[in-house]
């Protein structure tokens, strides 16, 4: 018997042995009833999770310094989204590759996001009757790109120092004053030009809830695409803070989990496993590597009937004797 023998014969010989009575429709009806009962029982006992979404208004109120730092990065073009690359822009910060293949670039920028314009300048332009803001915006827009960068960096640097100090549980620098009761941030810096005025207005707009709708990317009255507000809020720290508390981070096997103690998507265990294994774990190309591995494994899984050795294992390890134990008992063997 060769292990290379392919298992599936080309046709099904008709069964000529004994039959037992069987009611297919009755069995299906009983199964549906049993599953309904089981689902109702699980529902009554365990319900289902529905943690409300985070809003940009909440983020700007609860973590005002994080909001201001993120908005400054969006304006400066240094946020995760600004540096991402396709399908959002022409950068390359998150473009992954497998040897010479860069499939992320193949279909170009399909969901364009200009973080400075979309997340800061355009929303500010919607605020009416604010002469100070109008003057600041006019000054900013008229400036050269080098000047814009200098202003934004002068504003962002103290906020970054503040964030680092908070993360390392050190005394934060006095250049950033956060009033948690009002949710305001004051950055004491020189050389930031109109940026502090713009950021204060953006913070107020966000806290009033006005930034949410303005970021929904659609020219229509009805809106269903949340790409822009989701990427903006994901650039900040609020989602990650909530996710960590709910064991949803990548190194916590996050993709297959959901909030609370619910099973989530356990069928993604093999997919999530690769992200825990070196060298994939620390690779900048982890996603494409994992997806290619899983695509290959999926193909092998589909074609198991034709895989040498793998399709013979069930003959060698007789689990089938357990499965068909009644048959073998009735055969006396």
């Amino acid at each position: 018997m060769s292990i290379w023998r392919t298992e599936p014969e080309s046709r099904t010989p008709p069964w000529r042995g004994p039959y037992a009575p069987y009611d297919l429709i009755k069995e299906l009806c009983i199964a549906v009833g049993a599953i309904v009962l089981l689902a109702v029982l699980l529902t009554v006992l365990l319900s289902s999770p529905d943690d409300p979404p985070s809003t940009i208004a909440q983020w700007s109120r609860q973590l005002p310094a994080d909001f201001a730092a993120t908005a400054a990065k969006e304006l400066n073009g240094t946020s995760d989204t600004a540096e991402y690359g396709p399908p959002y822009n022409h950068s390359s910060g998150s473009v992954q590759h497998f040897f010479i293949l860069h499939p992320q670039r193949w279909l170009g920028v399909s969901h364009p996001i200009d973080t400075a314009e979309d997340y800061v300048v355009k929303p500010l332009e919607t605020i009416p009757n604010d002469p100070a803001l109008s003057a600041a915006l006019a000054e900013y827009k008229a400036a050269s790109s080098t000047q814009k960068k200098e202003w934004t960096e002068a504003y962002a640097k103290p906020l970054e120092e503040y964030a680092t100090a908070v993360e390392e549980k050190k005394v934060p620098p006095s250049t950033v004053v956060v009033n948690t009761s009002t949710g305001t941030v004051t950055v004491n810096t020189s050389g930031a030009g109109p940026v502090p005025t713009m950021m204060a207005s953006l913070q107020s707009l966000a806290q009033s809830g006005g930034l949410e709708g303005g970021l929904v990317s659609s020219r229509q009255f009805f809106q269903t695409d949340y790409t822009k507000p989701l990427l903006f809020i994901a650039d900040g720290g609020l989602l990650e803070e909530r996710a960590e508390g709910q064991h949803l981070l990548g190194d916590q096997w996050g993709l297959m989990n959901e909030t609370g103690s619910y099973p989530g998507q356990p069928w993604l265990w093999l997919y999530a496993l690769w992200y825990q294994v070196e060298p994939i774990k620390s690779s900048p190309n982890a996603d494409i590597q994992v997806l290619l591995i899983m695509s290959l494994l999926s193909l092998l899984f589909i074609f198991i009937p034709f895989l040498p050795i793998v399709n013979r294992i069930p003959r060698w390890i007789p689990v089938y004797k357990l499965i068909w134990r009644e048959h073998y008992r009735s055969q006396g063997g």
Partner: protein, 247 residues
Amino acid sequence: MSAVPNVPPGPPPGPPSGRPPGTPSWSGAPSHSPGASSKSWTVKLRERGVAALPPDKLLPDGQPTYVASWIYVFGVASIASLIVIVGSGCILALKGPAWWHETGVGHFFNSIHLWSVELFFFAMVVHLWGKYWMAAWRGGRARVWITGAITFLVAIPCALTGYVSQQNFDAQWISTQAKDAMNSVGVGAFFNLTNFGQMYSYHILLLPIAVVALVSLHVLLVRRHGVVPPFELQDKLADAPGEKGRA
């Protein structure tokens, strides 16, 4: 000016019929039209369908005696779970995506939907392992395995699009994390996890159609080929006079 069309007087129009009154419309004979030729697509499809799956094979009232194990429960449990998923999903779809966040009844049906999905995957995985250890692809049944495996793989994005369509924190987190994997292989350009409208369409229409179609094909193939026999019975069948040389 009247909008009523100019209808000639007479009896109301009806289907043309050469049958005398009281004659049943269908006699049960395989072909009814003397003009029906073997070139008719309809006749060809019917003949092929009936040849592949005669009624007693499609809806059998008996099974080979070796079909006696708890493992067989998980195939039908997968289908039963899918029926409950589609049923609860239809109720959720009838009321729209916001309903289950706002009412207790809506949340109840969302929970039924979630748990039937968990049961579906559980039953499907046990069914799959069972079929692997039975080497259920034997005897010309490779397509049965292949359709089952593809069903499992298509059910995964079907569930994922549900998770990102929830409009809650889970949807925010899962969509913003999983987008990187989609983008890395270029899929994100046309399958955008952060676009609620697109994900909702995939979740309630496109992917369920694919899953239900695959399951239907899988079941029809099972009915056509029958349940795989134990190894030695299958080997005897394959070696039986008249079968040898055909395999």
